[in-house]
């Protein structure tokens, strides 16, 4: 019973968060100067053209009225139609979501690999010069904004040594047997490793640009958590049993150090997804972020609304997932 109760409160709070986000973004983008209608006016348009187009897109009503119309539409699954692309927002946004999710997941995997390696090496060689070097390199990775990492990668591995592709998500010349938009995962399921390699060659640089700051954060957090765990008695006890330092770190300290880091990484992961806006623009990667910037420039109000809501849904979903993993991994909670 207690589990059901906690799930219900969790759903309730998520609902409040989503509604809160919807209300705030709805009002902010309507207060923003520069309406979509102004964007559409050709050189010779007249006053009544402006009025006609405003009415056509329902922007002549009061903001609360517009919100109610939008809300009632959403309840029926209709998130409105994008002004620039004249496609239903829901379908458009969901078609772009897999690209951003795959990029974020790939970035997370790279970041965990690098961050994890740095933390473990830092712990294994603690007190030595290497550990100091790792701390400094973590600091450095965080001191450069991720779009500059993107620029450096483009210059380095896109132009000077063209190993990776610079833009896009897959080579346009390939004909794709995919049914879903999850190219990366589906290419693995279909065992099409030629396509998989091409996609990875496209996604690697943007994913790495996103991953570098995240790797530094994971590295710092995990190393701090490992440091605290290494002082505990069961680690010393393991050493007296004859286990080597590597075994002690990996099997005794790491499993218990991961738990506190997990929740913090969960939060950073949501920042990462939000951060794809810039990187997708730089690498012309067709994800949610890239579309978001166009939507803002063209003041495509329904599309902006849809994208921000979807980001909020991803955020709450990731948080839920992190909490579930935390409970599953932590024996104390598992038997609660």
């Amino acid at each position: 019973m207690q589990l059901l109760q906690s799930v219900l409160t969790r759903l309730f709070t998520t609902l409040i968060t989503l509604i809160g986000v919807a209300v705030i973004v709805f009002f902010v983008i309507r207060v923003v100067p520069g309406t979509p209608i102004a964007m559409m006016l050709p050189p010779g348009a007249t006053e009544d053209d402006v009025a006609r187009l405003t009415a056509l897109y329902g922007l002549d009503k009061s903001i609360p009225q517009q919100f109610l119309i939008w809300l009632s539409g959403t309840l029926h699954g209709d998130f409105g139609t994008s002004i620039t692309t004249r496609q239903p927002v829901l379908a458009l946004v969901l078609s772009r979501l897999p690209a951003t999710l795959e990029l974020s997941i790939m970035a997370l995997v790279i970041a965990t690999a690098i961050g994890g390696f740095m933390a473990l090496t830092g712990t294994r060689l603690r007190g030595t010069k290497t550990e100091a070097a790792i701390d400094i390199s973590n600091g450095m990775a965080l001191s450069v904004p991720d779009f500059l990492w993107g620029l450096i990668l483009i210059l380095g591995f896109g132009v000077l040594i063209p190993i990776f592709h610079i833009s896009g998500r897959i080579s346009p010349s390939l004909d794709l047997p995919f049914t879903s938009n999850f190219y990366l995962f589906e290419s693995v399921l279909r065992l099409r490793f030629d396509l998989w390699a091409d996609i990875v060659a496209h996604m690697f640089m943007p994913a790495l640009a996103l991953a570098i700051p995240l790797a530094a954060i994971i590295g710092q957090l995990l190393k701090q958590s490992l440091k605290e765990t290494m002082h505990l008695d069961y680690v010393t006890l393991a050493r007296t049993k004859g286990y080597g330092e590597n075994h002690v770190i990996l099997h005794e300290a790491l499993p218990n150090a991961i738990l506190p880091t997990l929740t913090l990484v969960g939060v950073q992961f949501t920042f990462l997804i939000g951060g794809t806006v810039i990187i997708e623009r730089l690498f012309s990667y067709e994800g949610l972020g890239n579309m978001a910037i166009d939507a803002v420039i063209n003041r495509d109000l329904p599309l902006i609304q849809g994208i921000v809501i979807l980001f909020a849904v991803i955020f709450t979903a990731v948080n839920l997932l992190v909490d579930l993993c935390y409970a599953a991994l932590n024996p104390r909670l598992r038997h609660a």
Partner: protein
């Protein structure tokens, strides 16, 4: 100091020390042409919505759809889907003869019915067509054999120019009515030189050559247009050989890569200008004239745009119909100081106003305004820069609340004076900023002036009056840099549209 690749290598922040070696763009034969394009294509219907009035994506539409009248690279009209066209004697009717033997991409025949239906559609306000105010001047379009006749509700001398300008595209009547707007967006068909094979929003569009195109099959069978919105990424695309053609890259990079790739840089029908709003200090002609004289347009072009740009003194460029080389507003800082002194201003007691500009929308827009502000500071004008987004510019302009000075660019690919000086300077139009009654009175008779020579001469007088009283400060005509790999020759189009059908194998 020309920086070669080796020096850049040592300085790259990643500190990766690599042996530098030359990287020639792949020169071997190109079977599939790849173009790195600078803007995303939001929607395929070229006649409604914001994309219909966005000049930068007209090139994509012109690859797939045909316009009523074909515009040649030098902006001049030529027979397109219409072989001949004109008014009847008393200009109460327009007639058009429709080309025969043309088929849509799905094989169905192209008929006069399609033309009549397309014209009626954009004339109907309900479809949300933004240029309804022009097409609405024609009514009850009807087909007679291979001719289309329409009654002129209100005479507009530029009606046929709009047939090779924004929203001037012929759509398939039968197909559109069968699949509806949504179906058309998913699988657009036209009569143009290329057919849409695959479209991935925000990523790329793959085009297949239209074998039986009436204008002859284009050279390249498959063309992929990748949407690469970031300029540095486009440079990287072409330099690494991933793309064969690209445009709108920084002029410095164009100069650097021109050596290894082939580069063309021709002036296009897009100009940079400073709108003047008749408020605050701008009502004083001395201030306006001083501001105009104080700008050294040629030096700004040479130093900031590496020399790629044509200084202009009216809103018309040499390619436009109403261009008058006689109207000159030179760079004369002394005169500017004199004029300012006449109104009691000087370097120590400068005139103050705000200038608005976009940042990153056009090449070096912000830097140019900074340079102008620097030049103005030397003669006694203290201008405070405010950066805003293009959306905010449109709204302020429509509400006539722009700052005393506002930098903007104005495209006009038909080259007609009405769509450049006309809409920009005619008071009542929501797009103009200067509301001077004198200009309105000069322009009014020209809207419906049937005699073409008299009309053009009238617009020249308007331009002269504007330049003399500095009611607007035209700056330069943009030059469009296009880079292409050695295997392909690109003929640039003066409208700024990058057309794959104009690209031939070297």
């Amino acid at each position: 100091m020309k920086l070669n690749r080796r020096a850049l290598l040592q300085l790259s922040a990643a500190g990766v020390s690599l042996a530098a070696f030359g990287l020639p763009a792949r020169a071997q034969a190109i079977d599939e042409l790849v173009i790195a394009y600078n803007v995303n294509l939001p929607a395929w219907d070229p006649t409604t919505g914001p994309s219909a009035v966005n000049p930068t994506i007209q090139g994509l539409y012109q690859a797939v759809f045909d316009q009523y009248i074909l515009q040649q690279p030098d902006l001049k009209p030529a027979p397109g889907l219409l072989t001949e066209w004109g008014w009847n004697d008393d200009r109460t009717q327009v007639w058009m003869t429709v080309r025969e033997g043309v088929t849509w991409h799905d094989g169905s025949p192209f008929t006069a019915e399609d033309v009549a239906w397309s014209l009626a559609r954009v004339a109907d306000p309900a479809t949300g067509s933004p240029i309804q105010f022009v097409w609405g001047t024609l009514q009850n379009h009807r087909v007679e054999g291979n001719k289309v006749i329409a009654d002129v509700k209100q005479f507009d001398p530029t009606i046929f120019k709009w047939m090779y300008f924004l929203t001037g595209y012929v759509l398939p009547k039968a197909y559109f009515e069968k699949v509806g707007a949504e179906g058309f967006e998913a699988a657009p068909i036209g009569t143009g030189p290329y057919m849409v094979e695959k479209f991935e929003r925000n990523a790329f569009v793959r085009l297949k050559a239209n074998a039986n195109y009436w204008g002859g099959k284009p050279d390249f069978d498959t063309v992929t247009i990748k949407f690469v919105t970031d300029a540095a990424a486009r440079v990287a695309e072409i330099e690494s050989g991933n793309a064969h053609v690209t445009l709108e890259i920084p002029y410095e990079e164009y100069d650097r890569l021109k050596a290894t790739l082939t580069g063309t840089a021709a002036p296009v029908s897009d100009i940079g200008m400073i709108f003047l709003n008749d408020i605050e200090v701008m009502t004083d002609p001395n201030v306006r004239k001083a501001a105009a004289y104080a700008i050294d347009k040629q030096t700004i072009i040479d130093r900031l745009l590496s020399g790629y740009g044509v200084p202009i003194d009216t809103l018309e460029t040499p390619q436009y119909d109403a261009y008058d080389a006689g109207i000159k507003v030179g760079y004369n800082p002394e005169k500017a100081v004199e004029l300012l002194a006449a109104s009691g201003y000087s370097v120590d007691n400068p005139v103050k106003f705000k200038i608005q500009t976009t940042k990153g929308f056009k090449p070096k827009d912000y830097e140019m305004v900074q340079a102008i502000v620097g030049l103005w500071r030397k003669v006694g004008i203290e201008a405070e820069i405010e950066v805003y987004e293009i959306a905010k510019h449109y709204e302020l302009r429509a509400a006539d609340q722009l700052a005393p000075a506002a930098f903007y660019n104005w495209g006009n690919s038909v080259g007609d004076p009405t769509t450049s000086t006309g809409f920009a300077m005619y008071g009542p139009s929501p797009h103009s900023v200067w509301d001077g009654q004198d200009v309105i009175d000069m322009i009014n008779p020209l809207w419906g002036e049937p005699d073409e020579a008299k009309r053009i001469d009238g617009w020249k007088k308007v331009d002269a009056h504007i330049a003399e009283n500095a009611l607007v400060i035209p700056l330069l005509q943009y030059v469009q840099p296009i880079l292409s790999a050695p295997g392909v020759v690109v003929t640039p189009h003066a409208s700024g549209a990058l057309l794959p059908q104009l690209m031939k194998r070297a």
